[in-house]
């Protein structure tokens, strides 16, 4: 599972140390290679090479999609949110945050492609969209979100600050961000066939999880970039992010508890079956692990001033938060998939020759799925590396000196 986490390794070493930088580039190339090879293999064999079946029709790819859409919340909301409350405390993080958000949403769009049985037919969604489908809404809103990230980045990389434009963009960004996560949640939440997902709290829950993972990832990447380069944000930003994270984690946990308690007290079978799977069944280790290591432990670090003052500990907590949200996505997807409404022997057809019938499906991703996900991770890390080298490091280097030149240079590149 650790391979699925966004890059926690150095994003961009300083120019003076070439060795680690080239090692990092080599790692990215290998990751992209693994991804392309795995996807090529899947294209020749069809989705039969995955662990998916007619019962568990969605798996790791969709988890990664949910996760990446969520991660994209962090940066843009941090920028837009502090802009709207008139705070300049996060300003030094602006560019980095927007790069992380834009990358995450681009990677999310990419991550849905390997899940398609006929990716070469995906243009059908454009020429004959069925407007009732939340999948079509999601495609639209993700495109808008990606565009907003691009415009934000453009504004932030102008030589002269454009506070007015940034403010206007912030007012557009926040509602669209809310919409992106809501629509992604509704892909699942609208399905009457899956009572576990069919709950109004899914959209708020997606937003709160998105805030946790997105903010934590910005913290991790900011810390990494600071470590490996001369870029130096004011030290208070890490503390500020930690305080935000404490709130986000608490709200995220509260919404989860609200949902679970409501479902549990209903004592109806179709509510209880997925809960049993989480509390004591197949998903229990991941569920309790997520609550312990992904919620409680990081929360203590964020909330206790003495602990969060130790940056190393803070970053470790952020990594746990990101992994915890990933585990949460798994715990949302799998019980919904594992519990069909009609579940009688002999079960669903296996789907492949010799597959027989399966009543109690266990989904285990294959190496192909892991390979593709490694590739998506490498793709995201590559975008962040490029973005940081182009727009974050020059800013640090040029601070006070020739800002104008750097700005012009960047302007030429963005277009």
């Amino acid at each position: 599972m650790t391979t699925l986490a966004p890059p926690a390794t150095p994003t961009s070493p300083p120019a003076e140390r070439r060795g680690p930088r080239y090692a990092w580039y080599a790692t990215l190339a290998v990751g992209l290679g693994i991804g392309l090879f795995s996807y090529g293999y899947q294209l020749t064999g069809g989705l039969a090479v995955t662990g998916l079946t007619n019962t568990v029709t969605w798996g790791l790819y969709i988890v990664v999609f949910m996760f990446l859409v969520g991660v994209s919340a962090g940066g843009l909301i941090v920028v837009a949110g502090s802009e709207l409350v008139g705070s300049h405390r996060m300003e030094s993080l602006n560019r980095l945050a927007v790069i992380v958000s834009g990358t995450a949403v681009a990677a999310a769009a990419v991550s849905i492609i390997p899940d398609l049985g006929r990716p070469f037919m995906a243009w059908q969604m454009m020429v004959s969209p069925q407007l009732m489908s939340p999948l079509v809404w999601d495609m639209a809103v993700i495109t808008v979100y990606l565009t907003i990230a691009g415009i934000d980045l453009w504004i932030l990389t102008r030589p002269k600050p454009m506070p007015r434009s940034l403010r206007i963009m912030a007012m557009i960004t926040l509602p669209v961000a809310v919409l992106v996560h809501s629509v992604t949640a509704w892909i699942f939440g609208f399905l009457i066939a899956r009572p576990f997902w069919n709950t109004a709290i899914l959209a708020p829950l997606f937003i709160s999880s998105a805030l946790v993972s997105g903010t934590a990832l910005v913290l991790i990447i900011a810390w990494t970039v600071r470590r490996v380069s001369s870029w130096e944000p004011p030290s208070h930003v890490f503390q500020d992010l930690a305080k935000l994270l404490a709130w986000f984690v608490a709200v995220d946990f509260f919404l989860l508890v609200a949902e679970l308690v409501t479902a549990f007290t209903s004592q109806t079978e179709y509510h209880l079956a997925p809960l049993e799977m989480l509390f004591s069944g197949r998903q229990a280790p991941l569920f309790w692990g997520q609550l312990g290591f992904g919620v409680l432990l990081p929360f203590l670090v964020y909330a206790i001033p003495k602990l969060r003052a130790r940056t190393g500990l803070l970053v470790a907590a952020a990594v746990l938060s990101v992994l915890g949200v990933f585990a949460k996505r798994v715990n949302i997807l799998m019980p919904g998939m594992y519990e069909p409404q009609i579940n009688l022997p002999p079960g669903a057809s296996g789907g492949v020759p010799g597959g027989g019938f399966v009543l109690d499906q266990l989904y285990v991703p294959t190496w192909v799925e892991y390979g593709v996900v490694i590739g998506i991770g490498a793709f995201a890390a590559t975008l962040i590396t490029i973005g940081v080298r182009r727009w974050v490091l020059p800013q640090a280097a040029a601070e006070g000196a020739d800002v104008e030149d750097a700005g012009d240079d960047e302007a030429a590149r963005t277009h």
Partner: protein, 259 residues
């Protein structure tokens, strides 16, 4: 009179499984090639001006023999590892009857295929409108439009859709079916044998049922047998509370069958 196998062979050349119109002319001659008794046996009994096709499964008559499931595979060229039509068993396990009242053993079967919902959840979520309901109420998949996102499979409460995970494979020596095979990466399911209905013939699962447990007909035709039975004996719909309004109905057993 043409040789039946020749006619079948000529059918394989073309025809969209979902529209069935193109293949209809040739297919009619295949039907004509059958003995009159076979043709009559499969004829749809009554038909209104605007038919709404439905099916009734008499669970009192069903003996769980899987004939309908097997003929469905050959009729519709369903690839190995997939079933459009399955016979589920209510019991502890496939061959273990449940213990009913007074310790008597009971066995019940639930033939399950697409329920052809009037308010179909699969149709609502399909991003490309590949899943659609035709004029006669049959929920169909246009394989040409399907991008293989499997959203419909997540949305279907009945779990009756199957996906071509790999290149569709057939058992060695098995003839091709009466409709075109679907390509890898697409979702498929029961079409109520739409290609047969066009010729006034009932779906093959209905014709093949040795217990005559399946009744097919026009829900809009007052005199159809399906309507008379629904009127006389009521009938259940699966997961009725979901509001999907299936056009497949189930008749509960009037007396419990004990072993």
């Amino acid at each position: 009179m043409p040789d039946a196998t020749d006619v079948l062979g000529s059918l394989l050349a073309g025809g969209d499984p979902n529209e069935g119109q193109a293949a209809m002319v040739e297919r009619t001659s295949a039907i004509e090639a059958l003995p009159a008794a076979s043709r009559e046996w499969g004829e749809i009994d009554a038909r209104s001006d605007a038919p709404r096709w439905g099916m009734l499964v008499d669970t009192e008559r069903c003996i769980g023999c899987w004939s309908c499931a097997v003929i469905c595979r050959s009729e519709n060229d369903v690839a190995l590892g997939m079933w459009w039509n399955r016979i589920l068993t209510a019991g502890d396990d496939l061959d273990t009857p449940k213990v009913g009242e007074h310790g008597q053993l009971e066995m019940e079967w639930m033939p399950l295929a697409c329920q052809h919902c009037s308010d179909a959840p699969c149709e609502k979520v399909c991003p490309t409108a590949a899943t659609y309901t035709n004029d006669e109420g049959i929920v169909l998949v246009d394989a040409d439009k399907c991008i293989g996102c499997r959203y419909c499979m997540a949305a279907c409460p009945y779990g009756v859709r199957v996906f071509n995970w790999g290149e569709p494979e057939k058992a060695p020596g098995v003839e091709e079916g009466m409709v075109q095979a679907r390509p890898v990466g697409t979702v498929e399911k029961c079409s109520l044998c739409v290609h047969r209905i066009g010729e006034g013939q009932e779906p093959s699962c209905v014709v093949s049922c040795p217990a005559q447990a399946r009744i097919f007909g026009d829900l809009n035709a007052p005199d159809s047998r399906i309507n008379r039975l629904l009127h006389d004996r009521g009938g259940d719909q699966l997961l009725k509370e979901k509001g999907t309004q299936p056009k497949v109905h189930y008749l509960p057993p009037r007396r419990r069958r004990s072993l």
